[in-house]
Amino acid sequence: MSLPPSARAAVVMLAAGEGRRSGHHTNKVLLPLAGRRVFTWSIESARRLVAVTRTVLVIREEDRDAVMSTIDREIGPPDVTVVVGGDSRHSSEWQALQALAPAIEAGELDVVVIHDAARPLAVTAMFASVIDAALEHGGAIPVRDQGHLAALGEGVQPPERVVAVQTPQAFRAAPLLEAYRQAEADGFVGTDTASCMERYTDVPVLCVDGDAGNIKITFPEDLFLAERLLAKADWDLSGRPRQRRESAMSHLRDLLPHGERQ
């Protein structure tokens, strides 16, 4: 996919985490993963696009030293703007948008892309796809059909079409900033970026095709899978010639669960 040459986008990487913030453990986005830290994979993918001219990384204060040394080691120029997030996703997005506000108001940015840094497998084509859709329609979120859902017992049947929403999500910069300013004034806290846009603007938000491989690091098994898939992009741990992406998932059979499972 080719973006208009004049398109300018900022990528906001949310890396402040959802943990208990005990401060004693590594934020999962700082874990090693296939030769780099989790959060730098998607920064690298996004910045392969010429359209991405700004990068804002939202962190928690206690991770600052580790984040700065990782940026120094793993991310090349241009500079990454680092801001400290709030106690919710909405608040972290607001902090990032305030950092971008001067550039948005000066007309230097057309689109803002919001991405969860715990999704290291978001590929460059997906960033391009949402930026392109946001330029054309106003907003874009990647979704995956969840057609296999069924109610348990006598439970209420799920709606006919259920989708799982992924990131990166992209929105036109000026309406997004305005929506978050109004939300701040009203004390509204959205569950995600699209919910805030839908409440305060009439900008349409388009659903684009998500990617089954764009997993979020949540369970321990996700780290094993992500490692194999990412390694395949650069070197093959199986020792076989390069194969289709699906075949990398076959390595899951090598995971040995121990302990009692209920």
């Binding site: 985490g17 959802e18 943990g19 208990r20 005990s22 004693h24 453990h25 590594t26 934020n27 999962k28 700082l30 874990l31 090693p32 993963l33 296939a34 030769g35 120094d72 080691r73 090349g76 690091i217 949540t218 369970f219 321990p220 098994e221 780290l223 094993f224 490692e227 390694a231 650069d234 070197w235 093959d236 741990l237 199986s238 020792g239 390595h251 090598d254 995971l255 040995l256 669960p257 121990h258 302990g259 009692e260 499972r261 209920q262």
Partner: protein
């Protein structure tokens, strides 16, 4: 073998819990929930060949990674070089020992 501690969701506990993660070089070897003890590890059959291939890639990519770091911060690189060189034998010995224990 190096290790990290991080919060991940445990399927058995059904919540976010502390986990210990063990690495063989750059590769994840095992993860254990410190609350319930649930343990997931890569089988030796998969880990050892993967480690060998990863080691080969680490060695082949080392000159490129060194040049990138020199270009970015020559002074800092030279300052850290002696300690980094002295650390290597012990690091690899620890990795090999960890693998042989599997």
């Amino acid at each position: 073998m190096s290790h990290e501690e991080a919060e991940l969701h445990c399927e058995v506990c059904g919540q976010l819990t502390d986990h210990e993660l063990h690495y063989a070089g750059r590769l994840l070897d095992s993860v254990r929930c410190t609350r319930c003890g649930t343990h997931v590890e890569l089988s030796a059959r998969a880990l050892i060949p993967a480690y060998a291939l990863d080691l080969e890639q680490r060695l082949l990519s080392k000159p490129r990674r060194m040049l990138r770091r020199i270009a970015r911060d020559p002074g800092g690189y030279l300052r850290q070089l002696p300690r980094a060189v002295l650390r290597q034998p012990r690091k690899f010995l620890s990795e090999f020992r960890g693998l042989l224990r599997r």
